[in-house]
Amino acid sequence: MATQLTDTRSTQTLPQGSISYPFPPRVKPDLPNHDVATLEAYLATAPLEDVDIADPMWWSTDTNHIYFKRLRNEAPVFFTSVNNNRHRGFWSVTRWNDVMAVDTNHQVFSSDAHLGGITLFDMDQDFIMPMFIAMDQPKHDVQRKAVNPIVSGQNLANYEDLIRSRTCEVLDSLPRGEVFDWVDLVSIELTSRMLATLFGWPQERRRMLTYWSDISTSDPELPGAPTKEERQGILLGMLQEFTVLWNDRVNSEPTGDLVSMLAHNPATRNMPPMEFMGNLVLLIVGGNDTTRNSITGGLYFLSQNPGEYAKLRADHSLVDNMISEIIRYQTPLAHMRRTALQDTVLGGQLIHKGDKVVMWYASANRDETVLDKPDEFRIDRARARQHMAFGFGIHRCVGNRLAELQLKILWEEILKRFDTIEVVEQPERVPSAFVRGYKSMMVRIPA
């Protein structure tokens, strides 16, 4: 029997290019205040169509999961039109199996930057940065393969000693008996050193990579953030600096770093400047935000689950399994977005050609119909590797093995040194529906 499809969104989607910057003001729920308890209570009963889950407010307060649980149960493929004069309207896909169906159907669901790319908010169409994650086949495949070898299992073995010695150095330099920011002294420190090595970028200027990563994903409307024009200027400055590196690499023998690989591979050596910049942004953000936030998240989850911390202390061989559980529980990129290339049906909903389809990995990783008690952080979870945080299909995270290696070494070395690390207050979260992470987390290692 054919199911009757109701078209719930045809009059609600705005065409691409119809949004101009600066965006109109965001519609927000009329609430006495925006503290966590008030927002949680609101999300528990608000009409689903009234909520714009792209609002950073739901992410800085980490209240979004209440809404996603409702979507998974009540409307697993759901169109949001509130605030469509800012984001054009988008489909939220929230169940594991539906996300998997979109992620593995790259023929219908495009990642192309020119259609808006891979994040909920369209890439600036007057400043398109082509990058392989935001390309379709066949160009995606050849560019991805140009950088793939640096993060392959065989090559990672070459980095292991270096990662371990740096991790030891960073951990040994941490203050004892004093409160400090774990994000700054550990998470950012370790990821920026790794990234500088991968790029062959000068170590003493490694925090520039962190800066450019943060700029790339920053929301121009948040207080203190650079405007769109300022951001573009900063990224052009990054391009200029990396062009110096490129010119050096292109005129010498291959050195094995990412810039050298891009400069020598036939698939990438003639990239236009904006495409070089795009791929830099991809590799910097990909190697930075994600691991950084899983490093912070892991410690936070253990501090919130002392029973799990005790299990880990008693059995260090749980580290491998715990790493996958940390990555699932953190899901450092909350979503990836696609654009439908044709009319299609997903979860009983009619999706029109041109529609924006957001795969919420953060929700799929809590799908109670697929995972056993997914809201619990369990370091000995069975089949912990089967999580959604790296995405699936041809755009699956290329650096996943490196991320796992960095986290594994970090936790092995932490366990050798510290019996406990206390999280002294709730971490401050990044206000973003894309980068699901932490700005700071104050901790203390007992003297």
Partner: protein, 106 residues
Amino acid sequence: MVKIIYVEHNGARHEVNVPEGENLMEGALQNSVPGIDGDCGGNAACATCHCYIPSEWQAATGERSEQEDAMIELADTAKPSSRLACQIKASAALDGMEVLMPETQH
């Protein structure tokens, strides 16, 4: 039961019995064979159950699907004999087959 011999890159052999109809990624996971990860749970959506099928068994294991082919195409250890173990189901015709594994899964 179908006898499958999983061979690690270092030559270590793991002879296990896989129930007929079960895919060979599950066959490895359920028997704790190292070297097969199966991160996507059997959807040909990653390539962490990447393996090589000896030529004499290729007719019996069939062809790669389009999705499987797309994932294998991106693996840097891909060869013409590459398959994803999750896309091959154990059957009497595969009894005694060797499944060779790459050095690492990615």
